[in-house]
Symmetry: C2
Subunit: 415 residues, 2 copies
């Protein structure tokens, strides 16, 4: 039998070794400076250190009167303390008013605390008549005052290179006064599908043909992972055509993704092309689905030839190509998927040791735990198994499956 | 004291009642038909029923020979069965070949199974010499054949109105041959901030001023939640200017978001404006932070006046305005945040019953559980408390805080 098995993917590489090897060929993408209102979901290219104290001055956290706390000591509803109104500070206004003992200055939320004051009493805890303010409660010094630098001290590093910029980070960057931000240029990705069986969505289906769903799917994933889709094309299963397309794509792409054409079928030119015109780094990864994957380099451009079956292409992207895109972005968290811990609902045997297995699961919530139910499926071409499931459980290469009730980590699909 | 408390937000509405009331004024957005390559993160406006069987024909799942299974019965490595090669079917080719007993047809992965064949034997399990194929294993009928309709039967509903379109759904839609998809139009959102203390990022900070971070933060959130930002402006704290801006914005916006200007401060014109020119639906929500929120209607446009403090504005968006945007999108899951279950690391007392409290937490992973650590903070203006934390735990209005070790649901920040 040995002899018969020689075709195909005799030497599978582990996922870890695959990524380690591919990473050794990666340069982090160059920096570009862009407007802060366009940075959503981009990746920070520098550490950010605050050049300001936030808040930049002692400020009132309430609408009320700036006072000296000691003037309120022992005040109560039945025994109010009285002070004299001596001025007013509006928000946004910088005042040179000076507060003396026995005085109060009307102050609005966010306005700077005047010199001499150490406390703000809320308007609801006072009454005023003829500029005499009655204080009905006793306050400790510092009450209702946000101190300069309380949130962020000048010189503090507040964001780290490689972080993804979401709404919270954008709030922080702009509160520091930044209107431009240095981020990593998006990896440029060209996507090809090959296969004489493929026809484009929107045309009429013909006998023996199927619609090409890989290019749109992979395009969406590239976008979600922070890359820029340069082109997405279906090419004829012809060696010269494919070769020319690939060489041409290396001119404006950091990454080429090719789906289909990597098994040992009669028309599988990809390994030949990459071998002849570039370097083959990996041919076959020990994962299921997704073993028949070819990774190489053509003219300094990484090329990933993913399996043509949609689910295998999908998981290969999540575990390899997507990770590489985020590595190029200098990203801190290479796998963006959220992870939850769930109890597996039934035994899951593994057919072949040595492969990292990806199990699609549906998550059901009970009162205080999550249950992961394996999705029944046949074959890695089953697209509906993705839309009907919530995420993926990984079974490590040398684990003989899962037992009902095992706690497992479920990586949710990227959104 | 009662008398002194009359100012402010005497009648807070619960979050549930707030949403119920606001929902009663919402129309789901109109449908627009767009190219499938632009649907990522849009929301489906119709159910999708497959008009095809997927796969559309019986096809080979392997490279090998299409055979009649019975011709392989009892075959083994030591006792191969022999059949005659009678043709070849490539992928993408529809063949009229007919398979007879004792024959095999060379077939590639994905190619249609010829009439008469019921099984595919993998190339690795055969040898061929002078068109005589040796079969080395015995196969049951149907082996390595993907049956027509096995993934999706014609007429099956495969996607539901309101679902968010991610890579998996895009793969499914295109595999059905769709190149255009009906989605909900994006809610158009105008964002304003008011406050004489605000200056724009990129300019020099002046005494008493702070940078406006709310408009960029809210813009990012609107985008993440599926809305379209029509404009983002900072306006002067002047009643007429604000009023004119708001009335103008109602012409091209489904939603207006205003941050700042909703407390009982001296310059807070928003309640007046909405009351005079429209309808006030809600003034004050029983949540912390985020109580001072005003919701109304101006010229059929919903207006949300969120607190000016960034964290209060942020959580109010997540819990109210963002939910409303997704309601307008006809979305099935109104809160897009992922939820994980974690153990709280310490007691968390609650200062005032009757409010829904939002607790920012950091999540730490241990072997088999997640620990939620409350973020130490002071005040809802503390932007760094968002970037330093991972999500929010909610403490219901009538629960007296959390006990160390309690299992809690953590809603992760939206990405």
């Amino acid at each position: 039998m040995e002899k018969l098995r020689k075709v195909g993917f005799a030497n599978l590489t582990s996922l870890e070794d695959t990524l380690e090897l591919v990473f050794s060929y990666i340069k982090i993408n160059p920096i570009e400076e862009i407007e802060v209102n366009t940075v959503l979901n981009r990746f920070l290219a520098t550490n950010i250190t605050s050049e300001l104290d936030i808040p930049p001055f002692d400020r009132s956290a309430m609408d009320g009167y700036a006072i000296k706390a000691e003037d309120s000591f022992n005040a109560s509803l039945s025994n109010p303390k009285k002070i004299q109104l001596s001025g007013k500070i509006e928000i946004g206004e910088f005042s040179n008013l000076n507060l003396n003992n026995g005085e109060g200055i009307r102050i609005s939320t966010g306005a700077p605390i005047p010199k001499g004051a150490d406390t703000v009493i809320k308007i609801e805890d006072t009454e005023i008549e003829n500029d005499v303010i009655s204080l009905y409660i006793s306050l400790p010094p510092g009450k209702n005052v946000s101190k300069k630098g309380e949130d962020i001290k000048k010189g503090t590093q507040v964001l780290t290179e490689g972080v993804e910029l979401n709404a919270e980070q954008i709030a922080l960057l702009t509160s520091l006064g930044l209107d431009k931000v240095k981020v990593r240029a998006k990896p440029r990705v060209s996507i090809f599908s090959s296969g004489d069986e493929l026809i484009e969505p929107g045309t009429k289906l013909k006998p023996g043909k199927i619609y090409n769903s890989n290019t749109p799917m992979i395009s969406a994933l590239v976008t979600l992972y922070g890359g820029e889709v340069v082109k997405g094309e279906t090419v004829k299963d012809d060696k010269d055509i494919i070769k020319n397309k690939l060489i041409e794509a290396t001119e404006d792409s950091d990454i080429i993704i090719f789906t289909g054409g990597t098994s040992v079928g009669t028309k599988d030119f990809l390994p030949e092309i990459v071998h002849e015109s570039g370097i083959v780094l990996i041919h076959g990864v020990a994962q299921r689905p997704g073993a028949p994957i070819l990774i190489g380099i053509l003219n300094n451009t990484l090329i990933f030839c993913l399996p043509g079956t949609p689910v295998a292409a999908y998981v290969s992207f999540l575990k390899i190509t997507g990770i590489v895109i985020r590595k190029m972005l200098g990203c801190l968290i290479l796998d963006p998927r959220h992870e939850v811990i769930a109890k597996i609902s039934k035994d899951v045997p593994v057919s072949s040791l040595g492969y990292l297995h990806y199990l699609r699961v549906i998550i059901e919530k009970t009162q205080n735990e999550l249950i992961a139910k394996p999705v029944k499926l046949k074959g890695s071409g089953v697209i509906s198994s993705l839309t009907f499931s919530d995420g993926i459980v990984e079974i490590p290469p040398y684990r003989e499956g899962l037992k009902k009730g095992d706690l497992v980590k479920v990586k949710l699909f990227p959104q």
